[in-house]
């Protein structure tokens, strides 16, 4: 697999604590990658290293096959969690300014910005001041400023906070479009349901260390507890009931615990033979949320 970004044993210490401790992971090209972790885990420190804002004490960052250098910022788009814009500037001027700082020529920048404003049907905002916009609207502008130079690596820290569901969807679609056009996206958030929905790969950071990494599906498989949800018609006979390890029983629904070596087909066969008409059969995979909480609590001694 080709990687847009490779982190090798990144370590960063501040005076009183170790913010990042030997973190390594790879971000595949054209993927959406979830960078997860509780507050203070070291995500921001890591992002700041990737965006060349700070330097790692040791370790290597490789972007598109090259060690991170001063030309790379133009290939990265970063939307920090704590965002801001110059309140007194006009929307158009502001976007133009940030785009030019990312290396676009003025005419090119203007052209692209107009394209984005049209896309969001806000063409007439060019001369509006930032401070006249609502918070959600400012966020849209911030998003445009992050992607206008067509970065190969897009780092979005909580990109949906403060957005209403409609705008969340618009931005989500745009992120997906950018991915299809070739961008790779690092997506940092606490909202696990969004990660499950959007990301293909994740890495979980806690206390500066990389504690979990992989494809979302694989991670969930890895933490599965061999449980199945079954919806059925008919009556559950006592004989069948004795054969099963039932965790939860509702009218016409069961949650079963099986051994790790149980074949799902066999289970299904057993149920059907027991006289049940199976309407639904699904393995329960833990949500990322559960995995996240479990892993973090497991690692962090509760005080």
């Amino acid at each position: 697999m080709e990687y847009v970004l490779q982190l090798e044993h990144i370590t960063k210490a501040y005076r009183h604590h170790l913010a990042v401790d030997q973190v390594s992971f790879q971000v595949p090209k054209q993927s959406i990658f979830g960078l997860l972790g509780p507050n203070g885990a070291g995500k921001t420190s890591l992002i700041r290293i990737i965006t060349t804002i700070t330097r790692a004490d040791s370790g290597r960052v490789i972007l598109n096959g090259q060690p991170l250098n001063s030309k790379h910022p133009t290939q990265i788009g970063y939307m920090p969690e704590e965002r801001g814009l110059y309140k007194k500037m006009k929307v158009g001027d502001h976007l133009l300014y940030l785009a030019q700082l990312k290396g676009l020529s003025k005419s090119e920048a203007k052209h692209r910005i107009q394209g984005w404003l049209e896309k969001f049907s806000i063409e007439d905002w060019w001369n509006k001041k930032i401070e006249e916009l609502s918070k959600g609207m400012q966020q849209k502008i911030q998003f445009i400023s992050t992607v206008v130079h067509r970065p190969q690596l897009l780092i979005l820290d909580e990109p949906f906070s403060g957005l209403d569901p409609i705008n969340t969807n618009i931005i989500k679609e745009e992120i997906e479009l950018l991915r299809q056009e070739g961008a790779s996206i690092i997506f940092s958030t606490h909202r696990m349901e969004q990660v499950e929905e959007i990301c293909e790969h994740i890495v979980l950071i806690n206390q500066g260390r990389n504690i979990l990494e992989g494809r979302v599906q694989e991670v969930r498989e890895q933490f599965k507890e061999n449980q199945f949800d079954i919806r059925f018609a008919g009556t559950l006979s006592d004989r069948l009931r004795d054969q099963l390890h039932i965790l939860d029983e509702k009218p016409n629904a069961l949650t079963l615990q099986v051994d790790s070596n149980t074949d799902p087909n066999q289970l299904l066969h057993q149920l059907m033979q027991g006289g049940l008409s199976i309407l639904g059969f699904q393995e329960i995979l833990p949500t990322l949320n559960q995995i996240f909480i479990q892993q973090v609590e497991h690692q962090t001694p509760l005080v």
């Binding site: 700070t54 990265i76 704590e82 965002r83 801001g84 814009l85 007194k88 700082l101």
Partner: protein, 443 residues
């Protein structure tokens, strides 16, 4: 470099196009001129009521018509009645007061007391005017009585001048007026530097703070280096300062010239009652004029070609030095301006000290304090411009320029180190010691 240009452009344009900036730039000269006009009017205000004073001239002084009616606010009238009658009829006679000039009994007496009768005590200006007139005529009277000549008296008053001359014969260092002119120009320059450092340095600091509390800074430094951002801001604000000062330098003389034309009085704050004063210094007028010419010559003789570039250098050097320090402090400040204000004290103290030293320097431009302060880089941007008009020794100028240039670069570097840590740090109260530690941390 291209990015730095973009940042400078934005910092400059975003300020210069602000309505508040345009108003301040245009209205400040107007306000200054207006202030001077009002001060001028206040000084030339002479009271609107006419004081009529009856004079009982027992001393038989010769009072001239100009003495009696020369002042529009004071009308004198020599009367023949005696004091008793006048006092009895005071109500009907419509005088504001009665002045009794007793006869001169002893021609050698050093003092002479006049008596003034009135319902209210005389105002200060009436009192001074009466005393001045009587003093002058009493003198005439005594000169006549003693049979001496005015000429002889004048010969007794010798004005002693001291004209500083250099040991080396060929160069002329000018006269004592050089000192006056030099102090004037130097004081103006020093004061100007002091204002510039404070106004524009603070502007840089506030702007850095704003960027930090706005959280725009993190977006910015994912595109540009913190140092570029800081330098762009400092240069941009510096250009704003130069723009504003240029506008003021053009507008103030033009406006004061116009004001002079319309109001027709001396903008240098002419003394009280210029008409009467003129008559008094009648004899000195010639000397005055020659002094003015000399002054103008001195102004011309000042080596402007050397002073102006040097002045610009000190402006830039001082500005960069202090603005970068202010930027560093701004980066360390949290959202709470008041709480962090203590951090600015270490910067404001040298500026204020330099300002006071400048005044001492003006009186004594070659003292060792002056020499030290014009080399010490935290003082020299304010003190040295004040000394420039006094033609300081060339080695001092060179050392001072070199030290300031070097320290500016050093302080910019130092501030850059602090800035890059400070702007990313939130929600922590920062001490000066911590700032020092940032310099050596590797970010």
């Amino acid at each position: 470099m291209k990015k730095l240009g973009l940042i400078i452009r934005r910092e400059y344009l975003s300020r210069v196009t602000k309505r508040s900036f345009i108003l301040a730039t245009l209205l400040t000269p107007l306000a200054i001129i207006l202030f001077m006009v009002i001060v001028g009017l206040i000084f030339s205000y002479q009271g609107d009521d006419v004081q009529k004073v009856a004079i009982i001239n027992e001393a038989q002084l010769t009072l001239k018509p100009a003495d009696l009616n020369g002042n529009q606010n004071l009308q004198l009238e020599i009367v023949d009645q005696d004091l008793e009658t006048l006092r009895a009829q005071f109500e009907e006679l419509d005088y504001n007061g009665i002045l009794v000039i007793p006869a001169v009994k002893n021609i050698y007496a050093g003092s002479h007391t006049l008596y003034y009768y009135s319902e209210k005590n005389p105002t200060l200006s009436v009192e001074t005017d009466l005393k001045r007139i009587v003093d002058k005529r009493l003198r005439d009277y005594k000169i006549a009585a003693l049979q001496i000549e005015e000429r002889q008296l004048k010969a007794l008053d010798t004005k002693v001048d001291l004209d500083p001359e250099p040991i080396a014969a060929e160069e002329d260092s000018g006269s004592k007026i050089t000192n006056v002119v030099g102090a004037g120009i130097g004081g103006f320059m020093g004061f100007f530097m002091y204002m510039a450092v404070f106004i524009y340095g603070m502007m840089v600091m506030r702007s850095v703070m704003e960027e930090k509390t706005n959280r725009i800074v993190e977006v910015m430094i994912s595109s540009v280096k913190p140092f570029e951002l800081m330098m762009g801001k400092i240069i941009g604000v510096g250009a704003v300062g130069l723009t504003q000062l240029t506008v003021w330098a053009l507008l103030i003389p033009i406006l004061s010239f116009l004001a002079n034309l319309f109001f027709g009085f001396d903008m240098s704050g002419g003394g009280p009652d210029p008409t009467a004063a003129m008559a008094e210094i009648d004899a000195d007028a010639e000397e005055m004029q020659s002094m003015m010419v000399q002054m103008a010559n001195e102004v011309q003789n000042i080596p402007w070609l050397r002073i102006i570039p040097l002045f610009l250098f000190y402006f830039l050097g001082g500005y960069f030095l202090y603005a970068s320090l202010f930027a560093a402090i701004g980066s360390a400040m949290g959202d709470d301006y008041g709480e962090s204000q203590a951090l600015t004290i270490p910067i404001t103290i040298p500026v204020i000290l330099a300002f006071y030293i400048m005044f001492v320097t003006l009186e004594n431009p070659n003292s060792s304090l002056a020499i030290f302060s014009s080399i010490f880089p935290l003082f020299s941007p304010i003190v040295m411009p004040a000394r420039l008009a006094f033609d300081p020794p060339i080695w001092q100028t060179i050392v001072s320029v070199l030290v300031l240039a070097g320290s500016s670069v050093f302080f910019i570097w130092l501030s850059g180190r602090i800035y890059r840590v400070g702007i990313l740090l939130y929600g922590k109260k920062v001490t000066l010691r911590e700032l020092g530690r940032w310099i050596f941390s590797n970010q």
